[in-house]
């Protein structure tokens, strides 16, 4: 299974993004500054946006899903229960798990933002897609939910998962690291080696590495284990 970008470029006025490289099976993390083109890249990978130049090839990918940055963009049901059904899911187990059964008849946009994001991610993660693209999956989630979602993402043992996020401390286990810098997608490589080249690394991870901590990965457990090791 492979997603191959061959000089894929997107333009918007005087802004542009160029992407070259291959996303294979595993969990990929893409970081970059505000406005660097993470969401644009996510939409290109999902096939929602055609590159102005170059190509994007898909090998062995039979199903794909993108979770957009703002969960409001996904809502199609007029009630919370209908929203679940619109994803082909039985609302009862989904809403029971989320503790939202009492709100099943409410309009989805009347949920708190965190509740809406939890509902959306539960619908997205209920199925196993070959290609899963998650644009800012942790925004609006409380600390407990972030850890739970990280656990679910880490459990994906097959397929291509690509995360685009500004999250500072709570990550799933990540296999490959990418960055967008000055309009170019740059492949940093496999973890843990790639961590040394991570320009956009959160302050916490930079400080841990600067103090000589040997990080195996960046999940909360990995960060704490590295801290405990001398």
């Amino acid at each position: 299974m492979r997603l191959q970008l061959n000089g894929a470029r997107a333009f918007r006025g005087d802004w542009s993004l160029e992407a070259e490289g291959a996303f294979g099976e595993g969990i990929h993390l893409v970081s970059g500054n505000v406005g660097s083109g993470k969401s644009t890249l996510a939409q290109m990978l999902a096939g929602l946006l055609s590159p102005s130049h170059g190509t994007i090839g898909r090998e062995g990918i039979r199903s794909s899903m993108i979770s957009l940055q703002f969960p409001e963009y996904h809502v199609t049901g007029s009630t919370v229960a209908e929203e679940c059904r619109s994803w082909g899911l039985d609302p009862v187990p989904v809403l029971s798990e989320l503790n939202l059964m009492e709100k099943q008849d409410r309009a989805p946009l009347m949920l708190s933002r965190g509740e809406l994001k939890r509902l959306h991610l539960a619908c997205v993660l209920a199925k196993n897609y070959d290609l899963l693209l998650l644009d800012e999956p942790f925004s609006s989630l409380d600390a407990r939910e972030k850890e739970r979602i990280c656990g679910l993402i880490s459990q994906r043992t097959s397929g291509i998962t690509v995360l685009f996020t500004h999250e500072q401390t709570t990550f799933p286990r990540v296999d490959y690291l990418w960055e967008i810098q000055q309009g170019m997608l740059i492949e940093r490589g496999e973890l843990p080696g790639a961590l040394h080249d991570w320009t956009h690394a959160p302050v916490l991870i930079k400080r841990l590495m600067a103090s000589g901590k040997n990080l195996k990965n960046i999940s909360p457990l990995d960060l704490q284990e590295a801290t405990c090791r001398t």
């Binding site: 006025g13 505000v34 965190g114 939890r118 409380d142 302050v203 841990l208």
Partner: protein, 223 residues
């Protein structure tokens, strides 16, 4: 001081709370009432019972800057410069003064390159920056930020915090799901089920949250 007394609105119940000038962070689980409290402090919602006073006036009698986490909800105009200028134009501030203020805040926030763009061309994080500029340009007495930081990179968050600190806005109330951000505020409120369950300086409040995922990871890692 911001004073809340005998306050009830939907799920919110606050008997008494005083918020001094400075940056106040609000944290808590999803659905605990953080956004509702922020809506009350900004005057978007009005208490069913009780009162909120900001230096003796209700929020609706106060100049408020409001930034929604889903900025599309509040953006009115299609061009960035018009959006940032909107509060000043609604207040009949002279055109040349408005133009100067828009350019100044854009320069301070490093978003001058966005001024001639349309909102449609912006990324999610850029929309948040435009919403922040639109709120700050009017020099509000209280700036209310609903998880503005969840779509910004860390470097940009720190720059914005510095700008807010030096902007002279007396009261900043922000809810955040980044505990590192919350640890940098002056006052920290923890909400659960519509109530403020903990209140104090971040060090004291987080000391009660050591065994929870809400404890800042950098403190847990002693970095």
């Amino acid at each position: 001081m911001i004073e809340l007394a005998g306050l009830s609105y939907r799920m919110i119940r606050i008997d008494s709370l005083t918020i001094p000038p400075g940056i106040t962070s609000v944290i808590g689980p999803n659905g605990s009432g953080k956004t509702t409290l922020l809506r009350l402090c900004s005057g978007i919602a009005v208490p069913e019972n009780g009162m909120i006073h900001i230096d003796g006036k209700t929020p609706r009698e106060t100049d408020v800057g409001w930034v929604n986490e889903f900025p599309d909800k509040n953006i009115l105009f299609s061009r960035v410069s018009d959006e940032i200028a909107s509060a000043l134009r609604f207040s009949h501030v002279p055109c040349d003064e408005t133009d100067r203020a828009v350019k100044t805040i854009a320069r301070q926030m490093n978003i001058t390159h966005l001024l001639d763009r349309t909102i449609k061309e912006l990324s999610g994080g850029e929309k948040v920056l435009v919403a922040l500029a639109s709120a700050l340009v009017q020099h509000p007495k209280i700036l209310v930020l609903d998880e503005y930081d969840s779509h910004l990179d860390e470097t940009r968050c720190l720059q914005i915090e510095e700008l807010i600190r030096t902007s002279g806005v007396p009261y900043v109330i922000r809810c955040t799901q980044q505990m590192e951000t919350a640890s940098r505020g002056d006052l920290l409120l923890v909400m659960e089920d519509g109530k403020v369950t903990l209140s104090g300086n971040p060090a004291r409040v987080f000391a009660s949250l050591v065994q929870t995922p809400f404890y800042p990871m950098s403190w847990r890692c002693r970095i």
